[in-house]
């Protein structure tokens, strides 16, 4: 399968690979996917509580090039956004930016899920209700 230049770039030079300290109250962690499905994404955000702004984002992904690129791109987009802005990120924006083919749309869905799951975790840690069920669960 031919990958777009952007997917290849993110795969070859992934941005923000790493781990944040999940014991910190202002760090939210999302772990989505399943090993037997061939994709697992872990996405973490660190939030400045005073401004509700995401100051750092890290990911680790087990998956194909498109899954790695989707999560790498997501961390780039998350940094500097408020939590509400981050919640508005739609998977189709990732599809467009990375020129993902139809068979790889699920990678972008997983990335959106990972963002929402990380935000939800952050909310719960800070006494707010969890978010609704994510997009890909069916």
């Amino acid at each position: 399968m031919a990958y777009s230049d952007k997917v290849i770039d993110h795969y070859s030079n992934p941005r923000n690979v790493g781990t944040l300290d999940k014991s910190k109250k202002n760090v939210g962690t999302g772990l989505v996917g399943a090993p037997e499905c061939g994709d697992v994404m872990r996405l973490q955000i660190e939030v400045d509580e005073a401004t509700n702004t995401i100051t750092d984002a890290k990911f680790k992904t087990f998956g194909c090039g498109s899954a790695i690129a989707s999560s790498s791109l997501a961390t780039e987009w998350l940094k500097g956004k408020t939590v509400d802005e981050a919640l508005a990120i739609d998977n189709m924006e990732i599809v467009e930016e990375l020129a993902l083919p139809p068979v790889k749309i699920h990678c972008s869905v997983l990335a959106e899920d990972a963002i929402k799951s990380a935000i939800s975790d952050y909310r719960v840690k800070n006494g707010l209700p969890a978010l609704e069920e994510s997009k890909s669960h069916h």
């Binding site: 061939g38 087990f62 998956g63 090039g65």
Partner: protein, 404 residues
């Protein structure tokens, strides 16, 4: 300077040996006759070339030259052998025994047989990919007309106990067929000593051209016949109609001759390289060989790298032409059915690479491949949340994964 990418997918197809091409060339140009033309020298020259090829092939597998039926390749040979026996021996019975790890050319043909009212038993394999002789014995019935078990597996290289299988089939009055596609030309295959009644094989897995193969059909003890699956001029003793592919057949013959001459040296060299590749890659933690290491074709290695996803890995080893156990072209991943049959979990099946070496593979290429795979696996593991969990001692099975 090493030319990239490096071709290590020789179980899919091999390059044409220049000596084979040289032998074929005249038959693509000036010696163009139809081998069935009996009335003029053009036809005689073509027929002579075909007969010589039969002898070269017979020399490799120890059969009579008359026992070779030329086809378009192993898929056609598998079809002709299985369907041809099913039709020819329908008075005797309708039961066929095969194994779950066979090539699709065998499995899908057997599925077709089932639609025609035949009964097929698909034997399971153990963790090394070997069938159980006790299972085979238990599956034999008076209606069993054919046992078809491949010689060496295309994905793992595992070699089945062919002689023992043949003996069991014969004891119960059934014929024994084998798909010898990966084995013929690579290891000694002797249809008499092995007790093979029918055998499919093809030129392009042994440095010959694509589009030509053969079905060996035993002529005595017992005399085996297959019903033709294509109607026409009654070529190949009535078993396979169609004008003979003379240049292709000459190529298959030459390829067989070279394989016989060079088998010992090739095997020595390839198994040494393969073993080095495998030894080096197994220094990576959590990497596993798939299939039998004891009963295996000399040029094949199939290795799973746990906690790395197969398609991501394929992208990481872009300088190598290899195959993966994962066919991830849609949201629903399809891990290799052969590896699954060995009992591998989906994730291990997905994260496998198959290396197939050839006569033309060099030590330098293997060196490059070793480093390239090591780098890719290491890099992907640093990116893998599963690897991090494994390193922290977290049992992945204890996690409630959100299935998607």
């Amino acid at each position: 300077m090493l030319k990239l990418p490096i071709y290590l997918d020789n179980n899919a197809t091999t390059p044409l040996d220049p000596r084979v091409l040289e032998a074929m060339m005249p038959y693509l140009t000036e010696v163009f006759g139809n081998a069935a033309s009996r009335n003029h020298p053009f036809g005689w020259a073509a027929e002579e070339a075909v007969d010589y090829a039969r002898e070269q092939i017979a020399g490799l597998i120890n059969c009579d030259p008359k026992e070779i039926i030329f086809t378009s390749g192993a898929t056609e040979s598998d079809n002709l052998g299985i369907k041809g026996v099913f039709e020819m021996y329908s008075q005797k019975g309708n039961h066929i025994i095969t194994a779950t790890t066979e090539h699709k050319a065998v499995l899908d043909t057997c599925k077709h047989i089932e639609k025609l009212g035949g009964r097929v038993t698909y034997l399971p394999v153990d963790a090394e990919g070997l069938i159980s002789l006790a299972d085979l014995e238990a599956a034999m019935t008076p209606e069993t007309i054919l046992v078809t078990i491949m010689y060496g597996n295309n994905e793992t290289g595992t070699i089945q106990p062919i002689r023992e299988i043949a003996a069991i089939a014969h004891k119960h009055g059934a014929l024994f067929m084998t798909d010898g596609t990966q084995a013929v030309g690579k290891i000694p295959v002797d249809v008499i000593a092995d007790g093979i009644d029918l055998m499919a094989f093809t030129a392009h897995k042994m440095y010959g051209p694509k589009g030509v193969g053969a079905l060996y059909v035993r002529r005595k003890n017992p005399r085996v016949k297959v019903t033709a699956q294509m109607d026409g001029g009654g070529h190949e003793r009535g078993m396979r109609s169609g004008t003979l592919n003379v240049p292709g057949i000459v190529g298959l013959g030459k390829a067989c001759e070279l394989c016989k001459l060079e088998m010992e040296a090739d095997t020595q060299r390839l198994s040494t390289m393969r073993d080095r590749l495998e030894r080096e890659l197994l220094t990576l933690e959590e990497s596993y060989v798939n299939g039998s290491r004891e009963h295996r074709l000399p040029h094949v290695a199939n290795i799973s790298f746990k906690y790395v996803e197969g398609e991501g890995l394929m992208m990481g080893v872009k300088d190598l032409a290899v195959s993966s156990g994962s066919a991830c072209t849609s949201a629903s991943l399809e891990p290799s059915y052969v590896l699954k049959a060995l009992g591998l979990s989906d994730d291990l099946a997905h994260s496998s690479l198959r290396f197939g070496l050839s006569r033309f593979t060099t030590d330098e290429q293997i060196d490059y491949a070793i480093n390239h795979v090591k780098e890719a696996v290491t890099k992907l593991r640093e990116m893998s949340p599963l690897w991090e969990m494994f390193k922290e001692g977290i049992d992945l099975n204890s996690i409630e994964w959100a299935e998607h």
